[in-house]
Amino acid sequence: MAAAAGGDGKLWVDKYRARSYVDLLSDERTSRAVMQWLKEWDYCVFGRERGTSKAKGTAGQDRWRRPTQRVLLLAGPAGLGKTTLAHVAARQAGYEVVEINASDDRTSSRVRERIAGVTRTRAVGKRPQLLVLDEIDGAAAGQGDFVGALARAAAADGRRGAQLRPIICICNNAYAPVLRPLRHTALALHVGAPTAARVAQRLADLCAAEGVSADAWTLLELAQQNAGDVRASVNALQLATHGIRSLSAIGAAGAKDAQRSLRAAWNMIFLRTTDDRAQAQAVVNAAQTSGDSERLMQGCFENYLRSGFRDLTHTRLARLCGDWLVFHDQIDAATRRNPATVAALANYQAFAIVAVHRTCSTPFGLSRDAFEYPQADSALVQGRQAATVALQALIGGAKCVRTRAGLTVSSAAVELADYMTRILAPRLTTANRHLLKEPESTRLQRLVEVMSAWGLTFVQNRDADGRPAYCLDPPVDRLVAFRDRRLTNAPAPIRYSVRQLIAQELSRVHATSTEEAEATAAEHSKQEYLRQLRAGPQLASVLPAPAVMTDFFGRPRAAVSNDGKANTSQQPSHMWFSFVEGFSNAVRKPTAMRELL
């Protein structure tokens, strides 16, 4: 990468990294949420009140008046500027950023030490420090219970171990199983991709600063191809403009280059010229040199309906699908089974693409704005990954161990997810808990029981349109969400207010169950104490001295045991009986009576 960097040897990504809050490309609402969360620390860190009175109630009521959620979790795909957002917001709020790239220092004890050092110390004359833990999902995978330790540190309330500085964690996948302990204690913010237009605008600014001329359309296309990935867009731009000056850089700009040649091939496929034979030859050449026949075919498949060709009887199209596309797929499958055959078979695939050309091409070709880069494949892969992670989270969250052991991701997907969403959609006519009548209140209670048994919650979030929404967490319902509701006879989605009611009910149940858990823990520790007492009475000194019984006039009264004699065993005895469990393996040996008498 360094070789491909610009004239001053710096990557543009670093050179033009956002320096101030207004430079941030990320979603305005997300940035503001981060800033607001940081401001909630002001009293604890800087000892001053928050400037605005707005949202004052969200700050915690503990000793240091910290916010209730002491860790911020920024989640989102790579290259959207999560790290930049954390750094810029932290600097803006007056902190000095300490970054631990957790994929570097792998040992959890070292990371824990540094966390302790940063969050519990107050440096003199310096800005207070803020910890940024980058790539936390990658870091946590290899090592014991690092995330759990972090969550515990965040929850610690003692005077010594308390976390007094904000911690920002950055991850790609908020639903990674290792992050589970953190997800419930941390404030999770999903960083969305900035719009392509915004990225293109930034790229244009960059070009102007670097003295490179580029038309807006190319920049927009570049931004679109990288799907909002700012880092990739900037890198691609730098590589492309570098390529103008030096020939050696063409290879380095491979990704973009390949996309260019693929585009040219698609244009050729959908364009009919007067010289049909020459055009077909050109298509074969383009297909054979593109090197990615599968993607080429996917592009054809996703765009052929936009080309506007005439096939009134659909016979040509049917022949195309029946013959050539099947042929293409067969070769594809064969090369997948045996990669050694790629070289021998790939050339034949080009003829399937020529068949597409003969069927679907028009004299006008494919217009620029009609064409779409094939995305179905990558969207499928991503969707599959997200679904797998959600199901893993669902299975891992089940309280019953046997349930967990009996489920795999595939069985949960096929047998559980659909019914689960039906179970989670009760028919409730009102969202007012006090107005619920008999069958509905039982329904609600049952639902809450089910959800707590599976560790499911509704978290407040925003949907794609920016409206507040309660989303199921882990998002199992997305697995069975189809765009066309008529296809699935799925229950109507639960209303916002009903979800709110369920969420409130859940948190209430959760609170009481934690209380119960604390009570059982207390009972358990009592039992443990008694057990230790049984093992040895040296602990008896820990016991409070037996209260001296007094009679009616306040005079101390001798303790009287049941048989009427004064109880003489008040002082703790120094002897005890140690019980040996199991059978006796005693050895008989002669003992002289003199030793006993």
Binding site: S573, S578, F579, E581
Partner: protein
């Protein structure tokens, strides 16, 4: 041929008791079990049930009749030292023992 005389005198009989416990007595005093006295109280309940209290522990036991009784003998040392005749006194005859095979309870 030497002769061993075993003398049984009804009036001199002392009461002995055989205790069998699944476990051991332990102490944290420096001298160990040596010289410890009156560390346990044994209480006979109705029937064959017995309670033994040691410190804060109370062990349940039961009285069991021995299949073969034991005799506790004591060598008479004052008169039989020089002669070949050895003379023993029966100190006690033990016909039953108390078995403690239950886990101890804690009495606070």
């Amino acid at each position: 041929m030497s002769q061993i005389a075993i003398v049984y005198d009804e009036s001199k009989q002392r009461k002995f008791c055989l205790l069998e416990a699944q476990g051991s007595l332990e102490t944290d005093s420096a001298s160990g079990l040596q010289g410890q006295r009156d560390f346990a109280t044994i209480e006979r309940l109705d029937g064959d049930k017995v309670h033994m209290k040691i410190g804060v522990h109370r062990v349940q036991g039961s009285v069991v009749k021995l299949k073969k009784p034991f005799a506790v003998l004591k060598k008479r040392s004052d008169e039989c030292t020089t002669t070949s005749d050895v003379c023993y006194d029966i100190e006690a005859i033990i016909k039953e023992k108390i078995i403690f095979k239950m886990r101890p309870d804690v009495v606070l």
